[in-house]
Amino acid sequence: MTAPPLLEVRDLHTYYDNIAALRGVSLTVSEGEIVALIGANGAGKSTLLKSITGLTPPRQGEIFMEGRRLNGVPAHAVVRLGVAMVPEGRQIFGRLSVYENLEMGAFTRTDTDAVQRSFDRVFELFPRLAERREQIGGTLSGGEQQMLAIGRAIMAAPRLLLLDEPSMGLAPILVQQIFRTIREINREGASILLVEQNANAALSLANRGYVLRVGQIVIEDAAEALKENKQVKEAYLGGH
């Protein structure tokens, strides 16, 4: 018997009013894994992340984090169970300084020494943020805001990091840098669930991948295999 996965999602159904966004999604993320979730716009990728974090609670199905049931846990309590999220569109606090944004990331943590180590680590990963620590978040460039959003998530010292489209709107060189950092964070012990439209980059980084289409998982495989999968190639990798 293997240990239970870090994150387990079982037969999840999530609705916006009466419109189904997820229709029976099951997936797992094991300790130390990077899992990519790819799919077109509107396939339900962001909804899945929001269901896991409790922002959009599912109507049916179950979510387990390290064997603990997340259903019914309010969104603000989920981060205490080791789940941090980098939301779509970064969503940094535009009127708080860079430093204050990072402090918010560590909001639930009380061990000041450990928090200080997280600060040091974030500034090491993103020296740009260290230079601009007193700057107001809203005045950062798009790439810097993405760094800040990721740094803020690291501040929670998560066991599982959910990333929603971290490459969106960034120049290719920045995307590379962000993806390198994600790998780095993973090596340091956080498991990662990565939602991406940039399927190629995501699958190069991930161990495994899922393809989501109109609210359902249609393919699940090792990342290498998915890159070679004919359907995936046609729908998400090339074609343009």
């Binding site: 974090t53 409790g54 922002l55 309010p74 969104a75 603000h76 309590a77 989920v78 981060v79 205490r80 941090a84 999220m85 939301p87 969503q91 606090f93 535009g94 009127r95 708080l96 204050e100 402090e103 918010m104 990331g105 909001f107 639930t108 803020r152 929670a156």
Partner: protein, 353 residues
């Protein structure tokens, strides 16, 4: 045809700006002329100016404290808490009953300072309880409803609290016996200028409180969480911030300030009725809008600005001081015409509703 309509649109926008500019220059010219006349004719001696300046500052300090409650709640919920004045009134009422009891029991005679402190604590505590209950009962169930709905609920809560106070405490005027209280009765003479002790107390206490509030909002964990919630509630939740708790604490904080202002007004005006929250509430709301609602320094600036305008306006322009409310609300209209987002307001379009 399309060209014509855009030309019309542009010239309409231009003429509106031109109209506003001309209007602004005219109003400015009339006021400046009148002020010049007042000064040139030496209608008032310096002691009148200084006296009204100090009155204005004390009044402004009270407006500022109340306005902060409006602006904190607006900043976090985009909602005007129209029952805020009633929170103040109930704080002032609670202060009165504690003061009355301490006089009747003779406690006041031996412990003057302690009594004043207890009266403030009682007023502030009751205000906090009322504010928190308001949020739980009248506003929280309507979270997520269209913005007009909690507004109507707030107006309803205001009328309810006024009438509940009328039924519970009667319509008679309750006297804060300030002249009996050593230290608060009388005043200080600085040359020709006499300043009431209550004015000094209000200014000192209000300024200390506002400094503490600014530090709280800018530096403390709670203050940062409050600003994060004001900006983006879902993301604040992802950080582990309990949004409902922060909203409740924000109401508690605003109500605490209102309770303090209520007791200040009680000591200063020496009386309380169930209507005592209405006008200060409305004025402080005006002050918050003047400063740019949602903005903490703006509320303070707006409060002092309005207090000074009310107090110095009649002096400067030689109008009977009975017109002070006309000045206050006229000012509101004028500033909103020229700066729709208030003196320190950001562009509202950037505000997420």
């Amino acid at each position: 045809m399309a060209t014509t309509s855009t030309t019309v649109g542009r010239s309409a926008a231009f003429s509106k700006r031109a109209f506003l500019t001309i209007l602004g220059v005219l109003i400015g010219a009339v006021l400046a002329f009148r002020l010049g006349q007042t000064i040139y004719d030496q209608v008032w001696g310096p002691e009148v100016w200084i006296r009204n300046l100090i009155n204005g500052l004390a009044l402004g300090a009270v407006y500022a404290l109340i306005a902060l409650g409006y602006t904190l709640v607006y900043g976090i919920l985009f909602m005007i808490n129209f029952a805020h004045g009633e929170v103040l009134m109930l704080g002032a009422m609670a202060g009165f009953f504690v003061l009355d009891a301490s006089i009747n029991s003779g406690f006041l005679d031996y412990n003057t300072l302690l009594t004043i402190v207890i009266v403030f604590i009682a007023g502030m505590s009751v205000a906090v309880v009322v504010g928190v209950l308001l949020e739980r009962i009248a506003y929280r169930p309507l979270r997520g409803a269209p913005r007009l709905v909690p507004l109507i609920s707030a107006i309803g809560a205001s009328i309810f609290l006024q009438n509940a106070a009328l039924q519970a405490f009667g319509a008679n005027v309750k006297i804060y016996p300030t002249p009996q209280i050593t230290g608060l009765s009388g005043g200080q003479r600085f040359g020709d200028v006499f300043v009431a002790n209550t004015s000094i107390m209000i200014m000192v206490l209000a300024i200390i409180t506002m400094v503490a509030l600014v530090l709280l909002v800018n530096r403390s964990r709670f203050g940062k969480a409050m600003r994060a919630v004001a900006e983006d509630k879902p993301t604040a939740q992802l950080m582990g911030i309990d949004v409902n708790r922060i909203i409740l604490l924000t109401f508690a904080l605003g109500s605490l300030l209102a309770g303090m202002a209520g007791v200040m007004l009680g000591f200063h005006n020496r009386q309380v009725t169930h209507m005592v929250g209405f006008m200060p509430g409305l004025k402080a709301f005006t002050a918050a809008v003047l400063g740019g609602i949602g903005n903490v320094p703006g509320a303070m600036l707006g409060g002092f600005f309005l207090g000074l305008a009310e107090s110095l306006g009649p002096t400067a322009f030689q109008i009977p001081s009975a017109y002070k409310d006309v000045i206050a609300f006229g000012l509101l209209v004028l500033i909103l015409i020229f700066r729709p987002t208030g003196l320190m307001g950001e562009r509202l379009s950037r505000e997420r509703a």
